[in-house]
Symmetry: none
Subunit: 377 residues, 2 copies
Amino acid sequence: MGKTFDSEIKKLRNNIDSIDRQILELISQRLDQVRQVVALKKIHNVPVYHPAREEDLISKLRNQASTAAVNPDFIEEIYRVVLRNSRIEQTGQMKQQAVKAGANVLIVGGAGQMGQFFAAMFRSSGYTVRILTENNWNEVETLCRDTDLVLISVPINVTLKTIQRITPFVPPTAVLADITSIKQAPVDEMIKYFKGPIIGLHPLFGPSCSTLDKQIIAVVPGRDNPACQWLVDQLTLWGAILVSSTAEEHDEIMGMVQALRHFAAFCFGQFLCQQKIDLEKTLEFSSPIYRLELGMVGRLFAQSGNLYSEIIFATPQRRDMLKAYVSSVNEQITLVDNNDKALFEQRFSKIADWFGSFSEQAMRESDFIINKIIERF
Amino acid sequence: MGKTFDSEIKKLRNNIDSIDRQILELISQRLDQVRQVVALKKIHNVPVYHPAREEDLISKLRNQASTAAVNPDFIEEIYRVVLRNSRIEQTGQMKQQAVKAGANVLIVGGAGQMGQFFAAMFRSSGYTVRILTENNWNEVETLCRDTDLVLISVPINVTLKTIQRITPFVPPTAVLADITSIKQAPVDEMIKYFKGPIIGLHPLFGPSCSTLDKQIIAVVPGRDNPACQWLVDQLTLWGAILVSSTAEEHDEIMGMVQALRHFAAFCFGQFLCQQKIDLEKTLEFSSPIYRLELGMVGRLFAQSGNLYSEIIFATPQRRDMLKAYVSSVNEQITLVDNNDKALFEQRFSKIADWFGSFSEQAMRESDFIINKIIERF
């Protein structure tokens, strides 16, 4: 290889990058023109989306492609994407139906990411959304007045304190709800300090997702379910899947679903960092499934360390469970220490029996995913 | 409506058409640059497709998009199409063609799954494929006669023995290759016992996949690369991505890519089984990403315990690395033991810095995957 190769490759890549910048610039110009067309059509009440015009355009481009020695299917594929996206641009986000149209929603901690997410959802359905943060706490009384829902969306470590502070101002007819990732303590606290309808929620997704479609929300009933039903219906209408349980059951399962998983990922990342492994090189050698698993670890560290410490350190039971996990890991490493393959394989098949049909299913599901990754590249 | 509307629309549409012509022109220029990169890489035997480079490019374009007020997802969608098509452009032509038409290929262990996979690939390109197993070992001399390639595809624990047994019969002009998941010991052994061309391979995929397209194969040169080039070209022609390294580098990286990952998954499964957690209930509460992670663990136990013990226990270095991992896990659990959130978050951000831009990228990639899972259910 050597210099010439590197410099020639570099030159070509620079050309490609500058071509890409020009393409991007043109696409943004195109979107701008499309917006003008839409505006004009709106004024004259002409239907915005024009299938015939799109097909015209595609066939014209296919012809131009052939003459430019570019595969017409390739160009069509690109323009299907372009046209679909400008259509989305045109039709805009249609307002979603509201179960309790015009109701007042107060989001406590509405400046946080999850708070903003729910604020946007409620607004998009025509609710009146109010935001309460430390900065406007002096207006708490006004903000709570004839509100229909108070949604507590604050960091886990200030949830209980916030419940105590807000409840005196919440109308007894309003629904009091929280979205903390543990449920026992917050729900108990809400029941203790508030006499009206109560429901505990735990959205099992991050604020990065664009919709609630098929997202899971854990639900822990607190008091007066009928009065809370409209909120449940609204979340369902937005496409969320609501799974109900007791607070205790929820917290125990989440220990596994969140704390253990995050702790294990943290340890993995810590070790990679400590060993100073060459990430780039490792990725070059990565099968799609490892790329994905490394991604699972990597994505943890794209997020807030505080968020994860709150989840991992949430409760004493949780910390005990993590300690139990590590002592079991220490049991397993003795197999490696003694180079005892036989015992490893013995334990392996015992675990395989326990997983039962799930492992087959997991194999199928992850194969599907792996193919999706391969397709993507 | 009337004239003004018609003429204004016409003007805007002409603008869009001319923008589209420019985009098309740039795409054809881009393909041309890509062809030059490919040609250059072919000359220097550099793998054509580079996932890392593509992800860099996407990240860069997403940033440029945001500053140009274009939806980054839109641009990413377009460029996934562009990149996939330039790759098809690169590898597409005549996959089945044989680089060394009619050559004789002997697969040692050809009854095994990987052996069968490669037997089928070579046959599909018109090679004469012979299979050597324990059952026809008595014919070893005949089978080795004027063979052009001897591909050793046996379990890792009998690889060295097999190399010693077969080499006396291999013509010095034939290429000797193996597909073991470790490379140091097998390549050393081949060099020691065979005087002809040698190349070590490690396919980073299972026999379940249908083609070699975009599958990664690690390559460790042994001796006389020019004589081995036809095999490298054949694998590339089948669509595989060949990544070259020293045996030492390969084994070190695979310790991370395979052994550590499998050991961690084993420990996770062991703990879930030991705690007798309710899998069904846990899955009900599972966000797509946890469902996927649990699936990653589950799929391990759908496969052979022996396969994994061979990978985990492969070498002393590997076992030491795993012990280092567990002691680092023990360091981390003291944080939980001392309920020391502050130190946890301190370490967390140190790791986040180390991961750098990869974690953002991992976030995006896994979000994409998560959406695929959601679409599916």
